[in-house]
């Protein structure tokens, strides 16, 4: 853990609110420890700004362990910065060199309205989950955990997709602003497990419909989402989403209304 100090220049997007005009402001940040994380570097700058009577830079963050999915912004045009499979909270300053100029800007997508500076509103993701990203089971209903065997490869595939942290890097990196990777990760997580198959068709139809309604763009399978994903969700998941959607559309049966048993 060699503790080295570097100096940086940051060009940061500053915008007071959704409808206010924004612009880049330039800041020098000096004596940044290479052991610090990118967010700790911004903390350092913010402390200086507060002392000077300026407005600190707003950004979302919480766990700082790369798992809560709160943080995320573009660094020199890359979502979460230059390191693969890494969120900005886990991106450490040893990956940058002394004197570097870094451009920092928020996720840009019409489905993620800007809140302030580097903060955007990603609640569209919650509404996609709400539309069908679950298995319908009330507490108390469950059979024994080992009653249904799950082949290890299926459990592993479910896990790999469930690892999504909902940070939004996929949307921000996509030229179309598509949420296909996020949606497909949830769909594949649930539908690759036996207990999730029952609602598979409904889930595919509803989640895709919600995704469209939120204003996310269409997927043209260029793969920039998967390349930017800090959890390495595979592009194969989108293929599976497309297949599930097509299958569900063909299978669609009219819903029986008022058919609940006595």
């Amino acid at each position: 853990m060699a503790d080295k100090m570097i100096n940086l220049t940051l060009k940061v997007w500053r915008q007071k609110s959704k409808n206010a005009e924004g612009s880049f402001s330039t800041y020098s940040v000096n004596k940044v420890s290479t052991d610090a994380s990118f967010l700790e570097m911004i903390d350092q700058l913010n402390q200086e700004l507060i002392q000077k009577g300026d407005d600190p830079i707003a950004f979302d963050h919480d766990c700082r362990e790369g798992i809560c999915g709160s943080c995320g912004f573009m660094i020199n045009g890359s979502a979460h910065g230059p390191l693969k499979s890494t969120t900005v909270c886990q991106l450490h300053m040893r990956n940058f060199s002394d004197g570097e100029v870094l451009t920092v800007e928020p996720w840009r997508s019409s489905a993620f309205p800007l809140i302030k500076d580097l903060m955007v509103d990603r609640t569209a993701f919650d509404r996609i989950v709400k539309s069908g990203g679950y298995i319908s089971v009330n507490a108390g209903n469950a059979p024994d955990g080992n009653a249904v065997l799950v082949p290890k490869p299926d459990a592993d595939e479910a896990f790999a997709n469930a690892a999504c942290i909902g940070c939004g890097a996929c949307v921000a990196s996509c030229k179309n602003g598509s949420a296909a990777l996020f949606t497909s990760a949830k769909l594949v997580h649930l539908s690759s497990l036996p207990q999730g198959k029952v609602e598979g068709d409904k889930r595919a139809l509803n989640m895709v419909a919600q995704m469209d309604q939120e204003g996310f763009g269409a997927c043209s399978t260029t793969g920039s989402c998967s390349a930017a994903c800090p959890k390495d969700i595979s592009l194969v998941s989108i293929a599976k989403l497309n297949r599930a959607f097509l299958k569900a559309s063909l299978n669609k049966k009219p819903e029986v209304k008022g058919g609940e048993a006595g």
Partner: protein, 637 residues
């Protein structure tokens, strides 16, 4: 001082919960929708409680400070969740999990609660599997287990190093389903800033909309707090940045007793502190101690690289001191031993404190691929933080604040001293005594939320005459005013020091005087320093920006203001408890470096009542009786 009644049901321990469930009153399905329950916090305990009560038909209003419930700090729990399934046929049982937890908590937890927790644990796993939580599985498709500290059986279920995330997503998705069905109303980016008590009952909350600064009133028939622990009082901890005591503290100030505030857990395996601008510490899961061996050099101030230190010159101190539990000694015990080695001069790093956690033997035995499969994400995280490859060189680790066993006092029904205010998960004090065993926090959060609160809330509602209330009621107006005055006060100081600098200073006082080891002198000093710091805070803090818009500095200021009060209570509680137990280690009370309990005098829960600003809290006691497990000196040797 009064004696508190935990309302523990009578009868044998094995049937207390079952009998109690039968004896509780029910609310009929048609009436449930007439009752509103507020749930504050949407981590494991809050999301599971909101989902379950929504499923039952109550009208639920759920609140969280995050942008999305999925970001609650339960998400960061790594290692696993315990359950007495005995799938491994290695001798586990409900009674053994109960026994291990009571012993792990150093005989300072309530037997009846812990038994219920152990009993419920098996249902949690079933529920989570049904929701689609992708637990690790064997090749035959069955659920896999690993071992955790303080247990000699393998009962921990896991999803790689991301168990908390997966369990939270399960609870979050179940709750979102209820949102979709209209049973749960979800309000995110809201921070609870006061509890509204009407005629002695909890009837609502005051929240600040973090995006607009608007102060909102919300009324209900009962309130559930599931707002987590208070480790961030130490500034540097493994907790997330938004973790705070604020909601619990506001309830405390409205009459809820705060129990055992000095019981804090210092987790042995965290990435060591690196510098002044560090904002938080990162945990390396306890599960790593399944395969990693903890050691230091036998030579003091040894500056050789770990690979250059020959086997014969290494002190595998956990294996040496605790031959029967070895590297899987419980957290409090393992942390203390690491501290002793560093205090003696055996630290692995100059100008700092660390011990080695070494995987070389296991990698030799099982190969890198096997280790990567079990701990890949943790190794990767370590590499990112430190720039060192733990497959090649041992990890350096050191204890850090991680969990708080103390919290709001609750009875067996998880109801606080304010009728209608229930507390779930880490926010309550109930199940872990003076030390929590690994993989038991997730178990408790979900037990409370899925399987306890939904029953006990029904009993409260069925037994209580609850008058209709409007958010325009005087009590709501008064509470709103209290909140607004405090916000204005913070904004108006316009001093010269940042919120962060106060938080850091408080954290240092707490870590040095009320951390891994405490003594009368240090605690007495802290009790002088904290009020001074608090006074300076209210005279010299600088909160930039405006109150009526997004203002993260204002949020932090409010939280630090509460920590400045809580810190004092923690020190008082620690000073008052003249014994060592679990995570509370008073240097004056020890035998050969192990905690020395005083069951004659301190076999009780210390619950503190708020007596008003600038007055000391007064102490109430709940005596702990052990009818099933004999009080004994805890030994892992």
């Amino acid at each position: 001082m009064s004696k508190l009644d935990g309302k523990i049901p009578t009868g044998p321990i094995e049937s207390k919960w079952q009998d109690h469930r039968f004896n509780m009153k029910l609310v009929n399905p048609a009436n449930k929708r007439k009752h509103t329950v507020i749930v504050v916090g949407t981590g494991l305990a809050g999301a599971s409680a909101a989902a379950s009560m929504g499923e039952l038909g109550y009208k639920v209003k759920a609140f969280c400070v995050h942008e999305s419930p999925r970001r609650a700090h339960s998400v960061a729990a790594q290692g696993g969740i315990n359950a007495a399934k005995n799938y491994q046929n290695d001798g586990d049982s409900t009674y053994r999990l109960f026994y291990d937890t009571i012993k792990g908590g150093d005989f300072r937890a309530r037997e009846a609660n812990v038994y219920r927790l152990a009993e419920t644990s098996v249902k949690i796993i079933d529920q989570c599997v049904a929701q689609g939580v992708p637990f690790a599985r064997d090749y035959g498709g069955l659920l896999a287990n690993r071992s955790f500290g303080g247990a000699q059986v393998s009962r921990t279920f896991y999803a790689r190093g991301q168990t908390g995330q997966q369990l939270l997503l399960g609870a979050y998705q179940s709750m979102m389903r209820q949102v979709d069905l209209g049973n749960v109303e979800l309000r995110t980016r809201r921070e609870m800033l006061d509890l509204v008590v009407v005629d002695g009952k909890a009837r609502g909350i005051i929240v600040r909309n973090l995006l607009t600064g608007e102060i909102e009133s919300h009324e209900a028939d009962a309130v559930v707090l599931a707002t987590g622990g208070y480790s961030t009082v130490f500034y540097l901890s493994t907790n997330a940045m938004a973790c705070a005591v604020t909601a619990a503290w506001k309830a405390h100030k409205r009459g809820a007793y705060f129990a055992n505030p000095c019981y804090t857990q210092i987790h042995p395996t965290c990435v060591p502190v690196h510098g002044e601008n560090q904002s938080k510490l990162t945990l390396m899961s306890e599960s790593l101690r399944n395969d990693g061996r903890v050691w230091v050099s036998k030579t003091k101030n040894d500056r050789r690289k770990p690979e250059e230190i020959p086997e014969s010159e290494r002190d595998y101190f956990l294996e040496r001191v605790y031959p029967s539990f070895g590297n899987l000694a419980p957290r409090d015990v393992a942390s203390r031993q690491a501290k002793y080695r560093c205090d003696e001069g055996h630290s692995a790093i100059p100008d700092g404190e660390a011990v080695y956690l070494d995987f070389a033997d296991t990698i030799k035995r099982q190969g890198e691929a096997k280790i990567a499969e079990k701990y890949g994400n943790l190794f990767q995280m370590y590499d990112k933080i430190t720039g060192e490859n733990p497959y090649k060189t041992p990890m350096k680790i050191y204890p850090a604040p991680h969990y708080t066993m103390g919290g709001l006092w609750v009875d067996y029904n998880l109801m606080s001293t304010i009728p209608g205010l229930f507390v779930a998960g880490e926010a309550n004090f109930s199940d872990h005594g003076a030390n929590r065993l690994g993989a038991s926090a997730l178990m408790q959060g979900l037990a409370d939320g899925y399987f306890v609160i939904p029953y006990t809330i029904g009993d409260y509602i069925a037994n209580t005459k609850i008058q209709p209330i409007q958010p325009t009621h005087d009590s709501f107006k008064a509470a709103t005013e209290t909140v607004q005055i405090e916000i204005q006060k913070l904004m108006n100081v316009k001093g010269g020091r940042t919120v962060e600098s106060f938080h850091k200073q408080l954290g240092r006082i707490m870590w040095n005087n009320c951390g891994m080891a405490r003594n009368e002198k240090g605690l007495t000093e802290a009790l002088q320093q904290i009020p001074k710091l608090r006074e300076e805070f209210w005279n010299n803090v600088r909160v930039p920006g405006e109150a009526n818009y997004l203002n993260p500095e204002l949020e932090k200021a409010g939280r630090v203001a509460d920590f400045l009060e809580l810190g004092e209570l923690m020190c008082r509680d620690a000073l008052d408890r003249k014994e060592s137990c679990g995570g509370h280690f008073r240097e004056e009370y020890q035998v050969d470096g192990e905690a020395k309990r005083d069951d004659e005098k301190y076999c009780y829960v210390a619950a503190w009542e708020w007596m008003g600003k600038d007055k000391s809290q007064s102490l109430h006691k709940e005596d702990l009786t052990f009818e099933n497990i004999k009080l004994a000196t805890r030994s892992y040797k």
